[in-house]
Amino acid sequence: MTLLEAKGLRKAFGGVVAARDVSLTVERGEMVALIGPNGAGKSTVFNMIGGQLRADAGSVLLDGVAITDATPQDRFRKGIGRTFQVAQAFLSMTVLENIQMALISRHREALRLWTPARERYREDALQLLAQVGMEGTANRSCAELAYGDVKRVELAIALAGDPKLILMDEPTAGMAPAERSALMELTDTMTRSRRLGVLFTEHDMDVVFGHADRVLVLLGGQIIASGPPEEIRRNPKVREAYLGDTHGLRPLLTSSP
């Protein structure tokens, strides 16, 4: 069964229609890229799937079950993990505690009143950090980390929920090129080995064409093209929206029309 299916999603902010009739699917073990210029509506779509925004119209199905009106909390329990465009972590805590917090919540222990939180699920948390290559910073304060490292912590937090589907809104923003490909390699491996579904946005076209199984192009809130990376690279409509160069695509428009 299709892991994620979004049908006819629409969202307007006042007069600005940020997403109109957006439909997409993500299968298990598949990495899908959602690309588009700034303001195309990518984050809006992510937030409707993640539950941060309520869709004006349309529906979201996870494993065939409608979660259109579910809270972010419900979606977490149903297996959606996510990272945010502007990294969201618990900056007053250590890196390890960030992961522990997610594990505590996953085991529904967030209302426990007595044993210290920092003693719970240490091993599991360390393991998750090791997966994203952050075990060395476990006891550092999250506020001291470089931005790219916070993004990796975010990924570990998302993984702590044992998700089926991961939403990654610009996962590599703020990282050096080498770091980028390392992180996407990691995501790629996990997607295949655990048969996760991944929906991500990215401005770096090397990342997109290097890792996505399918690419969706969003422009002015609408999906104007979708298909395998090679097809998208050649698509004239996409080339119109983006100026092609030797690498592939580079944003031409800075805002939606």
């Binding site: 993640g50 539950g51 941060q52 809270t71 972010p72 909390q73 979606r75 977490f76 329990r77 993990g81 996510r82 945010f84 969201q88 972590a89 618990f90 900056l91 007053s92 805590m93 250590t94 505690e97 917090m101 997610a102 505590i104 919540s105 996953r106 222990e109 967030a110 209302l111 426990r112 009143l113 007595w114 044993t115 210290p116 939180a117 920092r118 719970r120 006891n139 304060s141 506020a143 975010e154 937090i157 702590a160 929920g161």
Partner: protein
């Protein structure tokens, strides 16, 4: 009840609506541009009233007539406007980027300063102003007499609304004010001289506050209690109307004026309650008031408890402190023991607030509500049920916990400044109930005879009892803060979207935090009642809430031990300095302001930070 009576009542309502609008309009303008909720707005109103009540009679002596009277009113408002400019230059412009808690506290420091200054300059007596020339005779409406000055007030409101509207729509300054209200960054991007815009706005805001106060002089004597009573009402008006919205303030003032005028017929003594209930209702339905817009929140992690590696010697140190404190009765006299008892109680009070602010990022400005509920819960149990201390203290705790549950249920939907205002409103409702429900609460006099049983009567015994109870409560609260519950609260404070997306039920946690903090403060209040032998409404007042905040701030919001140190320092200072000087409030106010400006981390926080920097 006939038609003419209803009409007169409605007119009364319109008159108070006008006065309220004129004052609140200034507050909302200032908030719109500077994003500061100016607690001192009520003080400016008070200064306006005092200035006019002093100035106008002198002017009328020189030349009697309506023109002189009105010129005197406007002149007084101008004087207050100039004070507003000073306020902006000396203080506000240094705290625009500070967390809202600090802004509220600093401007409350200004309130304290003004309270002493006003007494020094205008004397301690209330001053009744002259009646307005030409408006001395009441007029007759449907056979009833109605003061003609009230009619003038009714007209003044819409005139001010029109003038402000023109200012905002037709002048360059006004366009900038509106732009800044909608989007601060945009103004910065335009490269406008921001300082001038902000100073100008403060002038307008203070002018309106002064005008509101000056217009009162023929109706009420200028008195030293005006500042806090009017600021509470102004908060309600601006919050209900939507912070920053002038039409919203007008609408809200109209509704509140009528509610007061007719509410008095239904609940003769509870107009305040009705007004604050309206606010609670509106915020429950529209969390940003009638015309307010959601405020961008975030970045609150700058002020709050952060993880620190556990100190291995910590428990030992705590036990040592406990032993020293337990040995205090061996050397201290009863007076010192009384002070020490109160410090312990206040430390618990402040610590329970730490759970909300430092851990949860929930800026509560009405923590006195829970302290007072605890104290009254205990005292009422003694008075009406003849309960012993061992039943009365838990009753206080339970009542305050229940209060936390009820108030918290309203609060969890709100954030930022609306939350602060709402907590303040909740405390004011309880204050009004305690004050006005004389049959049960004893009104202004409160309840006396709340003493511990004879064997616990000696100071040393009561001190040790208090020490035991607060030590247990503080230990429990620290466990709570270190446990998953406290961590989840912090998580929601650090990043709400992140907390939600890992499945944390943010609102439930916050609600429980209010219950726990309420119970903690209630326990402190109940102990306090038995230590003093009485309770009175001041326990629920704004100054009590500010005391708790000051202790937190003194000690530092980043440190768990902060509130304990803060309570000790504040109470000891008050005890030693207050008898020595008539300027206690001025000193306290200046200290609060200085603290906000120099040690935004608090004393303990600064020491810790310094140590970490060096490490």
């Amino acid at each position: 009840m006939d038609l003419s009576f209803i009409l007169i009542q409605a007119l009364n309502g319109l008159a108070s609506a006008s006065s309220l609008f004129i004052t609140a309009c200034g507050l909302t303008l200032v908030f719109g541009v500077t994003r500061i909720v100016n607690f001192a707005h009520g003080s400016l109103y008070m200064v306006g009233a005092y200035t006019a009540a002093t100035l106008v009679p002198r002017l009328l002596e020189m030349s009697y007539g309506p023109a002189t009277f009105w010129a005197g009113i406007v002149l007084s408002a101008l004087v207050v406007g100039l004070i507003g400019i000073l306020l902006e230059i000396l203080l506000l412009r240094r705290i625009y980027r500070a967390p809202e808690l600090f802004q509220l506290l600093a401007t409350f420091g200004v309130v304290l300063v003004f309270q002493d200054l006003v007494v020094q300059i205008f004397g301690p007596q209330d001053i009744l102003g002259p009646r307005a020339p030409g408006l001395r005779q009441p007029i007759e409406i449907l056979g009833r007499r109605f003061p003609s000055y009230e009619l003038a007030l009714i007209i003044a409101g819409p005139i001010v609304l029109g003038a402000v509207w023109l200012l905002l729509r037709r002048t360059r300054f006004g366009i900038l004010v509106r732009a800044a209200t909608q989007d601060r960054d945009m103004v910065a991007a335009l490269g406008v001289n921001q300082a001038l815009l902000f100073t100008g706005t403060l002038f307008c805001g203070a002018f309106l506050a002064g005008l509101g106060g000056a217009l009162q002089i023929p109706r009420v004597a200028a008195n030293t209690g005006m500042d806090l009573s009017v600021i509470a009402e102004c908060f309600v008006v601006t919050v209900v109307g939507g912070m920053g919205s002038v039409p919203g303030a007008f609408l809200a003032a109209l509704i509140i004026g009528q509610l007061q005028a007719f509410g008095i017929l239904i609940f003769p003594k509870s107009t305040l309650v009705v007004v604050f209930l309206l606010m609670a209702l509106v915020l429950a339905i529209r969390p940003n008031g009638f015309f307010g817009r959601p405020e961008a929140t975030g970045g609150s992690h700058v002020v709050g408890i952060a993880s620190r590696a556990p100190v291995r010697s910590g428990p030992l140190l705590m036990i040592a402190v406990l032993v020293v404190l337990a040995a205090l009765p061996l050397i201290a006299d009863p007076y010192l023991l009384k002070v020490a008892t109160e410090i312990l109680i206040l430390a618990l009070f402040a610590f329970s607030l730490q759970l909300l602010i430092g851990v949860g990022g929930l800026v509560s400005f009405g923590h006195a509500a829970f302290f007072g509920l605890g104290a009254y819960g205990a005292a009422l149990a003694v008075k009406w049920l003849e309960a012993s201390m061992f039943v009365a203290v838990p009753s206080g705790l339970l009542l305050a916990g229940a209060g936390g549950a009820l108030i918290g249920a309203f609060l969890v939907r709100l954030s930022g400044i609306y939350l602060a205002m709402m907590t303040l409103a909740a405390a004011q409702i309880l204050y009004a109930v305690a004050f006005q429900w004389v049959d049960v609460t004893g009104g202004d006099n409160g309840i006396i005879g709340v003493w511990p049983p004879a064997w616990a009567g000696p100071r040393a015994i009561y001190y040790l009892l208090t020490l035991a109870v607060t030590a247990i409560a503080l230990f429990g609260l620290t466990r709570l803060i270190d446990a998953p519950f406290g961590y989840a609260l912090r998580a929601a404070r650090d990043s709400e979207p992140r907390a939600e997306s890992i499945g944390l039920a943010v609102r439930r946690h916050r609600w429980l935090a209010f219950v726990a903090a309420g119970a903690g403060a209630g326990l402190a209040g109940a102990l306090y009642a038995f230590s003093r032998g009485s309770v009175d409404p001041s326990l629920l007042g704004i100054p009590t809430s500010v005391d708790a905040l000051t202790m937190l701030l003194l000690g530092g919001i980043q440190a768990l031990t902060g509130p304990l140190a803060g309570a000790a320092v504040l109470h000891a200072l008050r005890d030693w300095i207050m008898p020595l000087t008539p300027f206690w409030r001025l000193l306290l106010g200046l200290s609060i302001i200085t603290m906000v400006l120099i040690f935004p981390r608090g004393l303990v926080g600064t020491v810790f930070h310094g140590r970490e920097e060096r490490a």
